[in-house]
């Protein structure tokens, strides 16, 4: 019944509801789309298998646009990988063999684009540039001939999946949402009952303390779980993030992290007496360290030693390591169980401390 009551609270409080439902979508789109908008002279590589007149024309067209600067002409795909790893290029274009004859005989040809997915914004902008250059090239070609000979070029995109630091922002946002919705909301909702005196009312009833706490925290876990699913769907279908691991295992991972976040929220609520306290402590003590020390925005291995050590205390780092492995490398339980154990252990410790503190206070 406390579970049901908490859901009623959530639905009556429209602002909170809007916040917890709209925020994940807004955040993921914000990070995904708005960072950079215009790029000039991006370094690219062109692998020309054809080496004929039309391919030369096309390369000419590419380099005469001020979008690109062709910095290398590799002769194999392995060289492209190498250039990506060295961070020399943002994009590679592969022109197929017999480009010219394909255009003449089949009136169509496929140009392959390889993106550097460590920065999705740039990748998607550059893709559009390549398309527009291709479109121009095609229109010019078609002008000189009769319509029977008109051709079209299609681009085929391929993500360079060898990169280590790819897709940082999706695990990062999932982490932030779970911290915000689960930890922040559960610490606030528990502190609110303390602030208004209703917690005393509940404690004086025969309901177990642990049931009260669980009943209050589960609705927020369900909401953040739904948000997480939305984020994953957007990531996979809008931003084409790979999902190489098992989706069920990924969700299990999220549930365990949610438990850790919720238990952190519980712990915070036991040491705070008002909603404002709870909010401030969660923001300063959990949210900021999560943003700064999880390796999400700022790479951990370039930080001073003390911060690298400190990062181990917060659950976010372990979760991000695990979720990246599962989504990108396709790892399973046997690869990431140490992270899971750490997260689960943290939850157990936080929950037992907060229950002890609850007992002491009342």
């Amino acid at each position: 019944m406390i579970l049901k009551k908490e859901f009623i609270h959530i639905f009556r409080d429209r602002i909170t509801l809007l916040l917890v439902l709209a925020m994940p979508v807004a955040l993921v789109l914000l990070f995904g789309f708005t960072i950079s908008t215009d790029i000039h002279n991006a370094s690219i590589a062109v692998l020309d298998h054809a080496k004929d007149t039309q391919s030369q024309n096309f390369i000419q067209k590419l380099s005469s646009s001020n979008y690109f600067q062709i910095v290398s002409y590799p002769s194999t795909e392995a060289e492209i990988d190498f250039q990506f790893k060295e961070n020399n290029i943002k994009l590679a274009i592969i022109i197929p063999q017999n480009f010219e004859s394909q255009l003449e005989k089949e009136h169509s040809a496929t140009i392959q684009i390889i993106d550097d997915v460590s920065d999705l914004n740039i990748a998607s902008i550059l893709n559009n540039y390549v398309r527009s250059v291709t479109q121009d090239f095609q229109n010019e070609y078609n002008q000189h001939i009769t319509s029977a000979d008109a051709f079209s070029i299609t681009t085929k995109m391929e993500y360079n999946s060898n990169m280590e630091s790819v897709y940082m922002f999706v695990p990062g946002i999932i982490t932030l949402i779970m911290i915000l919705v689960t930890a922040l909301m559960s610490s606030i909702t528990l502190a609110r009952e303390k602030e208004t005196g209703t917690m005393r009312m509940l404690f004086i009833t025969p309901v177990n303390k642990i049931h009260i706490v669980i009943g209050k925290v589960i609705p927020y876990m369900i909401i953040s779980f739904l948000s997480t699913i939305v984020i994953i769907i957007i990531s996979v279908f809008v931003f084409k993030m790979p999902l190489n691991g098992s989706i069920l295992f990924l969700l299990l991972l999220c549930i365990i992290f949610m438990l850790t976040a919720a238990s952190f929220g519980m712990l915070i609520s036991t040491i705070s007496t008002t909603q404002l306290d709870a909010m401030m402590i969660t923001m300063m003590g959990l949210f900021l360290p999560t943003v700064l020390l999880s390796g999400f925005l700022f790479p951990l291995n370039s930080m001073p030693m003390i911060f690298q050590v400190l990062a181990n205390v917060f659950p976010a780092k372990w979760f991000i390591l695990a979720i990246k492995d599962v989504m990108i490398k396709g790892s399973g339980f046997f690869d990431v169980w140490p992270y899971l154990t750490i997260l689960f252990g943290m939850a157990v410790v936080f929950i037992s401390i907060s229950l002890k503190m609850l007992d002491k206070r009342n």
Partner: protein, 239 residues
């Protein structure tokens, strides 16, 4: 028949003794006033009697159960209403009563009947589906009381139930208390209004964790040699 028997009940927090070996009995159906200045130890004593806090030493038998070994059974047999209004503002009147009724495992049909009956008795049937934050404070207090006795407890603890309500509502509230006590329910009430203390069958005055005075309002006034409980209180709390 005593419904509360407190014997040398003590609570220490470190070196500080919040409640010091208090002993008293309260009879079934009695309205017992629990007076004392802020910090005198009333709230700690009530917490121990309601099974929320374990005593350091001494015993208390509440509704026939031992506070040390049977706190859960005590919780099932008491009602509680606090000084601050403690129902949920964003739930309706009905939902609030339903929540607490469900917590005490009152069967659904029976619960609905009890809620409608007690709302009818308060003349609040029309307000059943209003959100609690939209109704006046005095009504909220009466509603909180009705909610606290929904599961038919043997004892009701009222912690400054009339703080901040107008004299008319306070009078109505005390009528509710009398009605409830007349059905055999024991009432233990704390208050800062000395005129209300006069309504109690017996009162105790606590200071520094000890019970300084205990008796009917008349007895105490005679004992101290003053005309009102207010004077008794001032006389005893200043020492």
């Amino acid at each position: 028949m005593n419904s509360i028997e407190v014997d040398h009940l003590t609570k220490k927090f470190g070196d500080f003794t919040a409640v010091n070996e208090i002993s008293f009995q309260v009879k079934e159906g009695e309205i017992f006033g629990f007076l004392g200045a802020n910090g005198a130890g009333k709230t700690t004593a009530i917490k121990m009697m309601s099974g929320l806090l374990q005593p350091t030493s001494g015993t208390a038998i509440v509704a026939g159960y031992d506070v040390v070994t049977q706190p859960k059974l005590i919780k099932r047999n008491i009602g509680y209403m606090s000084q601050r209004f403690s129902l949920y503002n964003d739930l309706t009147v009905f939902e609030n009563m339903q929540l607490f009724g469900t917590i005490y495992k009152i069967p659904r049909k029976e619960l609905k009947k009890r809620i409608m009956d007690s709302l009818a008795a308060l003349d609040m049937t029309k307000q059943a589906n209003l959100l609690v934050h939209s109704i006046p404070l005095g009504w909220k207090q009466k509603l909180a009381f009705a909610t606290a006795i929904l599961h038919k407890p043997k004892i009701v603890f009222l912690d400054e139930p009339t703080s901040g309500v107008d004299p008319i509502v306070r009078r109505e509230f005390w009528n509710l208390i009398y009605e409830t006590a007349s059905t055999g329910v024991t009432i233990l009430v704390t208050t800062h209004y000395m005129d209300e203390a006069e309504y109690c069958h017996r009162i105790s005055i606590m200071a520094d964790g000890n019970i300084r005075l205990l008796g009917t309002p008349e007895e105490l006034k005679q004992q101290v040699g003053v005309n009102t409980i207010n004077d008794v209180f001032v006389e005893y709390v200043k020492h």
